[in-house]
Symmetry: C2
Subunit: 485 residues, 2 copies
């Protein structure tokens, strides 16, 4: 079957229309603060809307036969790239990030909800453009929700089928018709939580502007801040605890939050991914806080809060920072580095490998030892009391191995550009996992400004790979994808 | 079925008899150099032989029903531990390594053919004890040959079945009766190559003592040297090239060497693992040598020789050193670190993950992308033109994932003992991969003397895990292994 390029362009056009609309949303902010850059935002929005409209309406009605699976792969990757390409306009037209490599890195870091930044002086940026920067993350989060609910399971990516079977309103035999319903419900929760968090942050002492921006980037597990010092700028424990809670919620499967809000708490507490997610976070917080308490002169509360904040920030792939965790103790650097390979729940806005995959890998490893003794016994991994098919376990293992291969290749390329061992593995782990801060020279107190343009493009591709669950992008690089089927 | 402890003790006794015999082999060396320590070697040998004889003969004839698979697992792990326990006697009795943790680390590092050492002044050691040190590696190499040919395939460990099907004199339906034959043939090659290398090294200018010791530890892919500076001490290019060739041979599947010696070169060149092993080595040598040539003022020949030497040394898990590869360039540190996770061929004396596993993982990763598009197509990995069953691919993926889990756990523990990030991941990668030198403070110019006793015990266990292909040891820690079947 031929690729349906008309349908693909129609969808990309629609995405640009949406994108342009969001750009215009930043106009009032710019006008309110009497910034000269309002005109740049207007231009950026209009250009994006015009091109989007052209692409959408010139191809509309000409989509014959709908989208195939192959079209699906293409539209997802192109969608993210296309949004990021046009998303650079507010930065470039305003001249606030004049260099295109920098602007693209910052924008893709937004849409992939990574949060790695090339900005050296965030406070000097205009409010309208900063608003756009936060919005790219929030839009990316919206995109991921629809991706996990509606697209990835149909493409059969890395065990994501598992997730969908448990989404509200979805029955395996009636997947398609109700998927828009599901996405709408989850978006409503996403929007609702964003508003509640913004309210709480304002109540805690942030300005309206800071409250809204941080709320947008928390719920997207993005991590862009309006302050160069990230959350370390806001010393209020109340603000930090609010952000911890909402990062954790943003990293929780949104369907579980839906059940929780509908009083079905048992469904939440019975979910194995949630149990491990909570368990990893709390278990390691106790460990990390004990070490921090021993090696520093912080009080118990400060040690606990900093440890919890950083662990939740990294496991949810948000990337906000309240302290330099790489300076605490070598053990903690190892733990934080490992956490970059975990990621939070499926069906959340978090990137990375995801807890459910680790749960299945862990259980399968133990079972594999039993299978050695009894090679003929059928011992499937059980998740939420159901047997996981060996095909899915196989696919998840392949995902993890490809993840490590991409990591190794990425680290080789970045180190070939001249960056030291720790900076290379740190930058690659954090970009591939969509987190933000790494180790080495891209640690929690640093940024990515000093990385050369080639390095930024490689890291951008890694962000995209990680965000789109690897397969979606990699498949486009197989000759097989492009041959006739 | 109950564990057959009598049969297990009988085998362990036999191993000790052999071990004691080898200790006595060091006596002439000690006497020749008029060392006072000959008496320690005699005591050590006699104690080991006595206890071995008691254990073997007191249980002999009482083995009912032979060994089950579970007995097999136990005997392999206990065998290595028991040999290492008694193998410390020459060090401890002579007082040359008085501390037991140190002596055990050095001995297990020998039997596992790792080559990580706690010795700060190797030249001050007596020749008899150094001879014993080299022999532990050579015995370990012998053990590995019999393990890969005869034991692991029967236990079904991590795709090792693949290897055996191709061993000379083995047909799948007649595995057991001819396995002793196969082992004998391979041992003959092992012994023969050791003698040839010793001859060449002597010819190249080494003393008889140095030639024999280095030959023993090369063929075992061990890496213990009689010089603190390792092979950097021997500046002769001839000697270094001889060692490169024999390291490479020691990392080649011995059955292929057997075919090669019998003129069946086509069988060698058609073997995919060999092709990749050769390809990885040569490809990366060109890359590394180019970088070394650019960043240093070495001649082309020196850059090539040092690069080839270090890459072969690490991919074969030998661990000899001619230069500090961590000082060359960040890119090369990343490459050398990654090479620690490769390992050479199955059916060789090399440790680590093994090339064939990587080949299957690589091919499967590409196929998995195709399987996404056509989930119902049956696309098995093909190795040497034959389809690999998906069970074996599944098992190899699980092996790799467990390998990374053990690595992560090991690095966490070592860093918890206070060692920095690079030293921790370097020490764990090199011990688990049975290599020798790592990165950080356990780099190619350093040793393991400064690691605390708990650290040494953890690293010792990692060497054992790596050497015995993980499963063999890990299975003993499952409650399931110890319950009745």
């Amino acid at each position: 079957m031929k690729l349906n390029f008309k349908a693909i362009f129609s969808i990309l056009g629609l995405l640009l229309l949406l994108n342009g609309g969001f750009m215009l949303l930043c106009l009032p902010v710019s006008l309110y603060y009497h910034e000269e850059h309002w005109i740049s935002l207007l231009y950026a929005g209009l250009i994006t809307i015009l091109i989007g409209a052209a692409s959408h309406f010139l191809t509309k009605g000409k989509t014959s036969g709908g989208l195939s699976k192959r079209d699906g792969y293409l539209v997802v990757t192109l969608g993210w790239l296309c949004m990021s390409f046009f998303g650079t306009l507010p930065y470039v037209i305003s001249g606030e990030i004049p260099d295109f490599s920098n602007a693209f890195f910052e924008t893709l870091s937004g849409y992939t909800t990574t949060g790695a930044s090339i900005l050296n002086d965030i406070e000097s940026m205009s409010k309208g453009v900063l608003m756009w920067r936060s919005l790219t993350q929030w839009i990316g989060g919206m995109g991921i929700i629809v991706l996990t609910v509606a697209i990835l399971p149909l493409l059969g990516i890395g065990g994501m089928q598992l997730f969908v079977a448990e989404a509200p309103g979805v029955t395996p035999d009636k997947l398609k018709p109700r998927i828009t319903d599901t996405a709408k419900r989850l978006w409503l929760i996403y929007l609702g939580l964003t508003l509640v968090e913004a309210g709480l942050l304002k109540y805690g002492g942030m300005s309206y502007f800071d409250a809204i921006n941080h709320s947008l980037t928390t719920m997207a597990t993005g991590g862009f801040s309006t302050k160069q010092a990230s959350i370390a700028y806001f010393t209020s424990p109340f603000i930090q605890y609010v952000i911890i809670v909402f990062m954790f919620l943003a990293g929780t499967n949104f369907t579980l939050t839906y059940f929780g809000l509908h009083g079905q708490l048992k469904k939440v507490l019975d979910n194995e991914e949630f149990k491990y997610y909570l368990g990893f976070t709390l278990g390691f917080t106790v460990l990390v806080a004990s070490v921090v308490y021993m090696v520093s002169d912080s009080s118990v509360e400060v040690a606990f809060r900093n440890s919890l904040f950083q662990l939740v920030s990294i496991i949810t792939t948000t990337g906000f920072v309240t302290a330099d965790y790489t300076s605490w103790a070598p053990l903690l650097t190892v733990i934080f580095f490992m956490f970059m390979f975990i990621g939070a729940s499926t069906g959340s806005t978090a990137g990375g490998v995801k807890v459910v995959r680790h749960v299945i890998l862990l259980k399968n490893s133990i079972l594999e030892l039993r299978r050695q003794i009894h090679p003929n016994a059928v011992l499937p991994v059980r998740l939420n009391k159901l047997a996981v098919s060996s095909d899915i376990t196989f696919n998840i293992m392949a995902f993890m191995i490809i993840y490590f291969m991409v990591f190794a290749l990425g680290a080789t390329i970045i180190s070939a550009l001249g960056y030291d061992f720790n900076t290379s593995i740190g930058a690659v782990a954090t970009c591939l996992g969509n987190i933000g801060p790494g180790i080495g020279k891209v640690g929690p107190m640093d940024n990515f400004a000093f990385i050369s343009a080639p390095g930024k493009w490689v890291l951008s591709m890694l962000m995209l790979l990680g965000r789109l669950e690897l397969f979606t992008v990699l498949i486009l690089f197989t000759p097989y994808f492009w041959t006739k089927h």
